[in-house]
């Protein structure tokens, strides 16, 4: 049975990723932020601009982009399935979609007991880098 993905994506978010890939001419990555003013937003960076390490958890790829979260935050989010979406608005972070007048956002739902038994594997940012 195919493992259950931890991060899903909407069609609208895919379109924005395509636009940003063209504009920046590079692959992208996401890091889920926690806390304060613009916390709890998925932040989109040029791949490698945000340096991940042993304290980041890789939740998988979403539309070809690595998706990370800090390990301590993951402790509280691991029972949650995330959906990467996009909405009109303005964040104040360094996330690269913001000048477009939109921002990425996360919708979340709790995994069912069934799903929890078959989740896609995770690894640390450090492990992922060693594979590349």
């Amino acid at each position: 049975m195919e493992p259950i993905k931890r991060v899903l994506i909407t069609e609208q978010a895919k379109e924005v990723i395509d636009t940003l890939r063209k504009r920046f001419g590079t692959e992208l990555m996401f890091h889920q932020s926690g806390g304060c003013c613009d916390g709890s937003s998925p932040m989109c960076f040029e791949k490698g601009d945000f340096k991940v390490g042993s304290q980041d958890v890789w939740l998988g790829e979403v539309y070809g982009c690595d998706f990370f979260m800090s390990a301590d935050q993951f402790e509280y989010w691991k029972h949650t399935q995330l959906t990467l979406d996009v909405t009109p608005g303005r964040g104040s972070s360094f996330s690269i979609e913001i000048p477009m007048g939109i921002r990425f956002m996360i919708r979340s739902k709790l995994f069912t007991e069934e799903e929890l038994k078959n989740l896609s594997p995770i690894k640390s940012g450090e492990e992922l880098l060693k594979e590349d």
Binding site: C36, D38, G39, F45, G89, S92, S93, F94, M105
Partner: protein, 508 residues
């Protein structure tokens, strides 16, 4: 849904603003290199009220140039003169307090009674505090032996980058600008794109008292203006208030340039109510009830929002009944109306995020004790960002107990013993603020010492006077603002080790 009809005093007039604001660089108004401007939306009604310059790397470079030019003289300006300038800024803010308070309310959405009573008066006092401390500040000297003297002299770091959040636009800018200027640094400030206007109006007011280039303000988006500033090899320090991912990113950039940073990041502050709080239904009990309701201050958009109420199980019913009653009595309405107690969330993004957490809390099984939904105000506020103050009951493992919602939402849980209260209080990645309420003299000292947070309010909450150091433990950052110790985050020590001996060592 039905809307809530407002019965309240008439909103005061909005201050006049220009159609658009340029960057403030080298004491002049400089149009953005991109020639583009972006709308500044007021959270009161969700409508644009002015425009801000869309800054980019070119603008940031100009601002850094201007700051370096100014640093040549500002760094050598006497403490007396720097103090005079800071006092003058304070006087100007005080003389224009009503206008700035109204403008801050339009920019940010918070209630006028807060900008009048807190944001602006604190700005005034903060500039005066730093004007004062540098007059009494001294470097040190030590005599190592009768011929050898060591002088440890403070020198300003240079040109610094300061990235400001949107929750207290003028006050957070003041917390950063005042110590930097006092220390002899020049600054390039990047305000949040949600609230780029009030600081520009302040610059208009103080432009004549500031030497050109000492303060420069560049508006724009994070990736376009903030990033070139934070990555510049020509800034000596970056000060940031915001959330953890951007904090880490800025530290990474700083590590490449080997420069220091100060970070004021998130919080999930516990507000602990010990059993003795309810020993009597008196003045103090009433104060404690208000202390719990302080989560609604600034619509909850405070890094130290007391977003977790921990209450002794024996007094839960008596205490929370009163807290819920007081929370329901919070008057929401037009932020510019004088009797409004709680205004609008600062942006549509914030509004949506808070609503999504209300949903998450319910999904997780938290019980809604009050609020739990948008406020749906009418009378011209239909398109503004209003959310009812909300109290959830649940347990500390829930996401709503662990994640910073940054809205008027608090979560309550109970404890049986002091040890359990401390364990719950510390079970968080953050350590910014905390509150402890008790009538027991031992607890008043011992419990705050056991809480891993940089600021513990004891029998009070949400006071931010200058002269009390404020900053985080754990993942809430480092650096202590509001206090003279911040000066040392804006300067370095020049040690002169002097020999007054005429005798050679005899080594060579």
């Amino acid at each position: 849904m039905t809307t809530q009809t407002l019965s309240q005093s008439k909103p005061v007039d909005r201050p006049t603003v220009k159609a658009k604001y340029d960057h403030f660089i080298g004491g002049k108004w400089v149009a953005p290199a991109s020639e583009e401007y972006f709308d500044n939306i007021s959270p009161i009604d969700g409508k644009p009220f002015t425009k801000a310059a869309r800054g980019n790397k070119e603008d940031v470079e100009k601002a850094i140039d201007a700051a370096h030019e100014a640093f040549k003289t500002w760094s050598k300006t006497s403490a007396a003169e720097r103090s005079r300038v800071l006092n003058k800024i304070a006087d100007i803010i005080e003389d224009n307090l009503e206008m700035l308070a109204r403008l801050e309310t339009v920019d940010n959405g918070k209630a006028l009674r807060e900008t009048r009573a807190a944001d602006l008066p604190l700005c005034v006092d903060h500039f005066r505090y730093f004007a004062g401390v540098i007059r009494a500040d001294e470097s040190t000297i030590s005599e190592h032996d009768e011929h050898t003297v060591s002088i440890a002299l403070h020198e300003p770091l240079g040109v610094v980058a300061q990235i400001i959040p949107w929750n207290f636009p003028l006050l957070m800018a003041t917390w950063k600008i005042a110590p930097a200027l006092a220390a002899g640094c020049c600054t390039v400030v990047k305000p949040a794109e949600q609230t780029p206007t009030s600081i520009m109006v302040l610059m208009e007011l103080i432009a004549d008292v500031l030497p050109p280039g000492v303060i420069n303000v560049v508006t724009g988006f994070g990736v376009e203006a903030g990033k070139p500033l934070a990555t510049s090899t020509r800034v000596a320090k970056v000060a940031f208030t915001g959330e953890t991912t951007t904090g880490r990113l800025i530290m990474q950039y700083a590590s490449e340039n080997l420069i220091p940073v100060t970070m004021e990041l998130g919080g999930k502050s516990p507000n602990i109510f010990m059993k003795s709080v309810a020993d009597a239904d008196d003045e103090f009990f009433d104060k404690a009830v208000e202390g719990a309701v302080m989560f609604a201050l600034n619509q909850g958009e405070v890094c130290t929002c007391p977003s977790r109420i921990l209450v002794h199980e024996d007094i839960y019913d008596k205490f929370m009944e009163r807290v819920i009653e007081r929370t329901k009595a919070i008057k929401m309405g037009h932020p510019l109306a004088e009797d409004t107690m709680m205004g609008a969330q600062a942006s549509n993004d914030q509004y949506e995020k808070i609503l999504s957490y209300l949903d998450i809390g319910k999904q997780e099984g938290a019980i809604t004790l009050c609020g739990g939904e948008k406020a749906g105000l009418n009378s011209g506020l239909e398109t503004g960002y209003y959310i009812k103050p909300t109290i959830f009951k649940g347990n500390n493992k829930m996401r709503v107990f662990q994640e910073e919602i940054f809205g008027p939402v608090t979560c309550v849980t109970t404890f049986k013993t002091t040890e359990e209260a401390i364990a719950i209080a510390n079970d968080t990645m953050y350590g910014l603020g905390a509150g402890l309420w008790s009538r027991d003299a031992h607890e008043l000292y011992q419990v705050p010492r056991a809480i891993q947070a940089g600021r513990v309010w004891v029998n009070c909450y949400h006071a931010y006077p200058a002269h009390a150091p404020f900053g985080g433990y754990k993942k809430s950052g480092f650096g202590r603002e509001n206090h003279l110790m911040m000066l040392d985050h804006y300067r370095q020590t020049k040690n002169m080790l002097i020999s007054y001996s005429k005798e050679k060592l005899g080594f060579f």
